[in-house]
Amino acid sequence: MSNQTLVDAEWALAHFDDAKVVFIEVDEDTEAYAGNHIKNAIALNWKTDLQDPVRRDFVNKEQFEALLSAKGVSNDDTVVLYGGNNNWFAAYAYWYFKLYGHGDVRLLDGGRKKWELDGRELVSEVPTRAETKYVAKDQDLSIRAFREDVLKAIGVQNLVDVRSPDEYAGRLLAPAHLPQEAARIGGHIPTAANIPWSKAANEDGSFKSIAELTSLYEGAGVDLKKDTVAYCRIGERSAHSWFVLHELLGVKNVRNYDGSWTEYGSLVGVPVAVGDEPGSA
């Protein structure tokens, strides 16, 4: 798929040595970058770089500015994000860069998986970039939802649960590559539709066509003229779905609830639905 916010391998190959293009790998598995990575790519750690070290929240504006300045990223650079897990954390970082107002951010379609499966070159050399003076904007809260927003959205706005059907129904409490947790209840936010993120991606991790993506959401009965909140377990799979809706399909009134089920499923007294049906408000 070709889109201004989505680049393919050919585009990447043509821009490896462009000083104004910064490739950034974002992957939970930081050993992946240390082992090898796309030429001239730098790395961001979604947790140690992008999360507050004490509270469960993002780094603040000043911390984000210090991070990108130290990494050598300028405000007018084109940032191209990629990562493993079908670009889950890269999409999360994309949303995060947008949250702090970076101008030109793009995703490498298919991320690290497609790059590897296509047999493309990975290198071990770590590039050096001169320090910059990055200036972030205040958070754009039109793309971020908090728990109060989600509670108000029940039965009123679109809620889209992008986890797997078994997580949505409460049969699993986490993705099946992780141990199943006991401390959190299972289920979903009442009235949420279940449109798993994976339906938007091909097997190689690349995004499906615009026609297929449009059909996916319309077929699920989601009225995209209404405000929409997407959520998952911690907000990174729903960042992938936010990217599809907001950036590829051009739906502007979409927010990502980064608290997601980790927060909502631990709240006292809030309504919860279990099973395969959305439930009622």
């Binding site: 059907p165 099946a176 947790e181 097997e203």
Partner: protein, 100 residues
């Protein structure tokens, strides 16, 4: 906050109470050799995606599922393979997958 991302080869069973888990694990090989580059994805009984991880350098993978029927789809450069399996609570099911 615990992450959602997959650990290469799967999460270790150290400090995991197996009695509460339905583990599916195995090794992917190409011919006689472990696949050192590849991905395994777990699909539910309706063929819906549930999880995916890169295999380790030794071709290893591990899922924590629920009791029931599952399908493992293995992706290595140039080849894919579907392997049905059944998980049980409190058990470790070994599924070795060869793509030769």
């Amino acid at each position: 906050m615990s992450a959602c991302g997959a650990v290469v080869g799967g999460v270790s069973l150290d400090n995991i109470d197996i009695a509460t888990q339905a583990v599916i694990q195995g090794v992917v090989t190409v011919g006689a050799a472990p696949a050192n580059l590849g991905y395994v994805r777990l699909l539910d009984r309706n063929d819906e995606f549930v999880a995916e991880m890169p295999v380790s350098k030794l071709g290893e993978f591990r899922f924590f599922a629920a009791a029931g029927d599952w399908t493992i789809v293995t992706l290595v450069p140039g080849a894919t393979k579907r392997t049905p399996t059944t998980a049980e609570l409190g058990k470790i099911v070994d599924v070795n997958i060869d793509l030769s």
